[in-house]
């Protein structure tokens, strides 16, 4: 492990110890935040009791569904938009503005369209993730070197094998960025959706604990979400570094 990584661990650990000290000495009152070690202890107890297992499974399932949908649909839409330059020029400013919209407000509409329960939450996660994937696909297709496409034309490759053997590999790093964002945004969308208007799932459990002044459960679940999301993102980060290293960049 190199110096930079050590420094990083040192900062993160230092921050946690700092919080711990602040909480233990009462500078941060227990009504505001509980010490990180007791968050972990409560989380352990909570997981062992199995009380939150259904919520965890439900949230993870929602995230996976939203993620898969946003990657496949986002890629397909991106490819279609890219092949119509006029459509693309018109749609670009809207794509760039998209993330300023409060999607959660569309929730009642989704209930009417998809029924109660999980589909509307998945739809919110999907809406959050899909545009990041569309933008990444457009970026990736923009950066394909002309020479490669010309070579494909010289070899008289048909559109399908051009797409699979030229376009996909050379756009891959950008597509991977999109995939990474889609993971993060699916999490954000699903958990925020559950937080504001669901009646089950991790986000809901946190909001419920907050409304009942149940700080222990709330912080334990927050810790769970933070650790889970960080672990998933770190996994994709390391994977991406490996891919880039293999490409010799």
């Amino acid at each position: 492990m190199n110096r930079v990584a050590w420094l990083r661990y040192f900062i993160v650990t230092g921050f946690i110890v700092f919080l711990e000290v602040l909480c233990r000495t009462g500078i941060i009152p227990a009504t505001v935040m509980i010490p990180p070690t007791s968050m972990a202890a409560h989380l352990w107890a909570l997981l062992a009791s199995g009380r939150v297992t259904p919520d965890i499974i439900e949230t993870i399932g929602n995230v996976i569904a939203a993620f898969l949908l946003s990657v496949t649909v986002g890629f397909a839409l991106g490819a279609v938009i890219h092949s119509f330059p006029r459509l693309r020029r018109a749609i670009d400013p809207f794509l760039a503005t998209y993330y300023a919209l409060p999607f959660f407000a569309f929730y009642p509409l989704f209930i009417v369209l998809f029924g109660l329960g999980r589909p509307p939450i998945i739809a919110i996660g999907f809406l959050f993730g899909v545009v990041a994937m569309i933008i990444a696909t457009l970026n990736g297709f923009d950066r394909i070197p002309r020479a490669l496409l010309k070579t494909a034309a010289v070899y008289r490759m048909d559109p399908l094998s051009t797409a699979l053997r030229i376009k996909l590999p050379s756009a891959a790093p950008y597509l991977f960025t999109g995939v990474k964002l889609a993971v993060a945004y699916s999490f954000i969308g699903v958990i925020a959706g559950e937080f504001i208007m669901s009646s089950s799932g991790l986000g809901y459990s946190i909001a419920y604990a907050f409304n009942n002044f149940d700080n222990k459960t709330m912080y334990a679940l927050m810790l769970f979400v933070i650790v889970l999301v960080t672990a998933v993102n770190a996994f994709f980060y390391v994977w991406e570094q490996r891919l880039l290293a293999r490409r010799g960049r």
Binding site: A100, P108, L109, I111, L181, A192, I196, A234
Partner: protein, 244 residues
């Protein structure tokens, strides 16, 4: 000219789809015309404006905090090679956290009201601005900094005359994304625990099944967001063209 026509065409198609969904499920979605009418009605009501003022105020404060904080953090980290390397993955993982889970903490610290909303908007916007500013300085052509050293510029002069002008296009891209996310943060903050503001109006309208009001507020927010973003996007593209 053709571009403007294409944009209008796109908006028209979106309106047709909207109308079609309205015809399929009239109770879920007000028609475009109905929404516009309700929006005009709201604009004429006196009780609507305090909500707008509340949201705008929270948004403005959050934006100022996110811009200055993000730029400072990003520029400082960007100028320090080790600092940037250490901070990059940390910032990226904070960026991808579902920050809404942290909202209760902010409410516990700041209490209900304006400051909690401002804080929530700020934490949404500050990280992407910092990431963009940091990377813009990191990816500066080395020859610029070498020239600065050859000319014996002091640190402050280097920053003012070399680093910031060269990094401006990327910084503006960061500000554009920060702008959108700050707005989203403030609105989510208002939707969850607030008694005032446009986010509260949306939640209240959802609770009362007042679909026209909900749609009208969302429409106005969308128009505001798209318009502000279009201006920033235009600036962004102009700056990028000037450099290359």
């Amino acid at each position: 000219m053709r571009r403007a026509f294409d944009t209008i065409l796109l908006v028209a198609v979106a309106l047709v789809i909207w109308q079609a969904i309205h015809l399929l499920a009239p109770s879920a979605l007000t028609s475009p015309l109905g929404t516009a009418r309700r929006a005009a009605e709201l604009l004429g009501t006196a009780t609507f404006w305090p909500h707008v003022a509340e949201t705008l105020k929270a948004f403005l404060y959050a934006l100022i905090l996110a811009f200055t904080g993000g730029l400072l953090l990003g520029l400082l980290l960007g100028l320090n090679k080790t600092g940037a390397k250490v901070a990059d993955p940390i910032l990226v993982s904070i960026y991808s956290l579902p920050k809404v889970t942290l909202y209760p903490v902010i409410l516990l610290i700041f209490g209900l009201g304006m400051s909690a909303k401002v804080a929530f908007g700020t934490i949404h916007g500050i990280i992407p601005i910092a990431i963009f500013a940091m990377n813009s300085v990191r990816n500066l052509a080395p020859v610029y900094l070498k020239t600065a050293r050859v000319l014996h510029l002091s640190k402050a002069e280097t920053l003012r005359t070399v680093v910031i002008p060269a990094a401006i296009p990327e910084i503006v891209s960061g500000l554009r994304i920060g702008f959108s996310l700050t707005l989203l943060g403030v609105l989510i903050g208002e939707m969850f625990a607030s008694q005032r503001g446009l986010g509260y109006m949306i939640m209240n309208a959802i609770g009362l099944h007042d679909v026209p009001t909900m749609m009208a507020v969302i429409l106005m927010l969308a128009v505001f967001a798209v318009a502000a973003n279009a201006v920033l996007l235009w600036l962004d593209q102009r700056l990028h063209r000037r450099i290359t």
